[in-house]
């Protein structure tokens, strides 16, 4: 029990960092209705960019902003491949993700891993400070960043521009009939999403003290897990947009806390990814199964009426 309490702050910090990533996934997966696999690459790009810039002596906040911009470029590329070259969104994301692997290695000067020491650089968050009750504790900063982001996104998706992105995802046919350029809105949404994912990667790399070329592997599944956990637990009570975003962040935190629990119960770390995939697959399938069962029941009723 005490070991769980000791591990809890770390799990919450990581969950909050991944929560930003999950908000990015929410924007593509739920708002735009696109499954964007760019994120596996752009998460690492954000980490790599930020760490290399911090090592070069740049202020971590500036490095974070630049990571955001670089993530947006990645989203832009996927958007162009999808809308201007007619490549299905999933494939467009995979193509960008693959090329990002090479780019990330370039950014990290051909090394698969680049460390950044909290003793040498003024990192924004670090797992080193996770225990103490000080302002350096990453949980404080991450909560503030999450609140700011949710506020800004709530504002943005309420503006005319944000509404047109939502309409594009909800019914692109209707959006075009109302004069909305659905292609440019998809690109914009993908840029925003990948920018946030890169920010998450930048914070994650600082937190764990290094950028790794493989840090984004399977990130999309973790992001989806957070989105789905948030929806399953809070979907019925959280209706407003900002609450939905909050639910996504809390979903990521829950994911990491539960992960910590099963690890302590003796699960092999190597089996983690499969466990996550299975859980996400089940939750994605539930709405489909529900419909099917409801359909069967209806069919039976109709049949008995005819008889």
């Amino acid at each position: 029990m005490t070991s769980l309490l000791n591990a809890l702050p770390g799990a919450v910090s990581q969950g909050l960092i991944w929560g930003i990533m999950a908000i990015g996934v929410y924007i593509t997966f739920r708002v735009l209705d696109i499954a964007d696999l760019t994120v596996d690459g752009s998460l690492a790009t954000g980490g790599a960019t930020c760490i290399m810039l911090i090592r070069a002596g740049l202020n971590p906040w500036v490095a974070l902003l630049i990571a955001f911009a670089v993530g947006m470029i990645a989203g832009f590329v996927t958007g162009i491949l999808h809308t201007k070259c007619g490549i299905p969104a999933i494939l467009a994301g995979i193509l960008t993700q693959l090329s990002l692997y090479s780019i990330n290695l370039r950014i990290m000067e051909s090394k698969a891993n680049q460390p950044v020491s909290v003793d040498k650089y003024p990192l924004l968050v670090s797992s080193r400070h996770v225990g103490g009750f000080t302002l350096k504790n990453p949980i404080f900063l991450m909560i503030i960043i999450a609140i700011v982001l949710i506020t800004v996104l709530y504002w943005f998706f309420g503006t005319e521009k944000g509404c047109s992105i939502r309409a594009t995802g909800a019914n692109s046919n209707m959006a075009r009939a109302q004069g909305i350029n659905t292609n440019s809105n998809k690109i914009l949404g993908l840029m925003l999403s990948n920018g946030l994912v890169a920010v998450s990667g930048a914070l994650l790399a600082q937190y764990q003290g290094s950028a790794d070329v493989n840090m984004g592997r399977g990130a999309i599944v973790i992001g989806l897990a957070a989105v789905i956990i948030g929806e399953v637990i809070f979907g019925k009570i959280f209706k407003q947009f900002w609450l939905t975003l909050l639910a996504v962040v809390i979903g990521a935190v829950i994911y990491y806390v539960v992960l910590q629990l099963v690890l302590m119960m003796g699960l092999n770390t190597n089996d983690l990814k499969m466990l996550t995939a299975v859980i996400v697959a089940i939750f994605l399938a539930i709405p489909f199964w529900k419909n099917k069962i409801a359909g069967k029941r209806l069919g039976k009723k109709e049949a008995s009426k005819d008889a």
Binding site: G158, E160, K161, C163, S164, N171, M174, A175, G179
Partner: protein, 264 residues
């Protein structure tokens, strides 16, 4: 004035499903024309409307609006002067957005969308009054998601959205076909009221002969991607359903009984 000049469109070129949907079609719509469009299934009626709306590129020919060539203008830009209601009630609205949000989206058709708030308080009161005048009981449900509305309510809302910002042209594609007779009559009456009040140039596709005769000042009949009949003014007012069916067989050379099945 809207002119379609020798418009051609073939779908699935070079496959077994190749289909010439528009065959050298020409049509001139004068301002304030209210044209009803009839024709059998697959005659090309929807394709003609979609060609005007810019859903796809036409193969050849031109589309001229008030002297401006809009043949290669993308769909979202043409929307600035078009209001559309589709046959499928699902197509015209964003289901996951509120009624008022859908209306606000439509009210900004043809405008640049920036970072000002997506809907203002003044608009809310305006929409409330509008919905009230529609008498569908939607004015007190403005923050309801459109996805839970009935087909008829959605079609009425789509009609309202198509005209909330006065369009140059209103394109109605069998917009009452999916509704029960009572709701269909109501939405149709609303359509006519708006078209008359706003003096909108309108194309309305219908499979109902009586409606085609009763509404509008002009009637065109399509067959195999062409216009085979174009009647307006007094001649149109005097039309009867029987005459129309006879004219259809005459113009298209089909046998009358099968046309009856297609048209009635």
């Amino acid at each position: 004035m809207l002119e379609l000049i020798n418009v051609n469109k073939t779908f699935n070129v070079g496959t077994a499903n190749e289909k010439k949907a528009l065959d050298n079609l020409s049509l001139t719509l004068n301002d304030e024309d209210f044209v009803t469009v009839i024709g059998g299934n697959g005659a090309g009626k929807s394709t003609m409307l979609n060609a005007i709306a810019g859903t796809f590129r036409i193969d050849s020919g031109s589309i001229i609006l008030d002297g401006m060539n809009i043949t290669s203008l993308p769909e979202h830009k043409r929307a600035a002067f078009l209001g559309r209601v589709f046959q499928d009630p699902q197509m015209g609205t964003a289901p996951s957005m509120m009624i008022e949000e859908n209306m606000a989206l439509a009210a900004r058709r043809g405008q640049r969308r920036g970072l000002s708030w997506g809907i203002s308080e003044a608009e809310r009161t305006q929409y409330y009054e509008l919905l009230k005048s529609f008498d569908l009981g939607l004015e007190d449900r403005m923050t309801t998601k459109v996805g839970i509305l009935s087909g008829g309510q959605r079609q009425a809302l789509t009609l309202l959205m198509a005209t909330i910002k006065k369009p140059k042209f209103l394109l109605l594609d069998e917009h009452t076909a999916a509704l029960d007779p009572k709701t269909a009559a109501k939405v149709l009456a609303l359509s006519e009221e708006i078209v008359t009040r706003e003096k909108l140039t309108t194309l309305m596709i219908t499979h109902n002969m009586k409606d085609a005769i009763r509404y509008g000042n002009r009637l065109v009949m399509m067959d195999e991607g062409r216009i085979v009949l174009d009647i307006s003014g007094e001649a149109k007012k005097k039309l009867t359903v029987a005459e129309l069916l006879a004219k259809f067989s005459e113009a298209s050379g089909h046998d009358e009984t099968s046309d009856k099945m297609l048209l009635s």
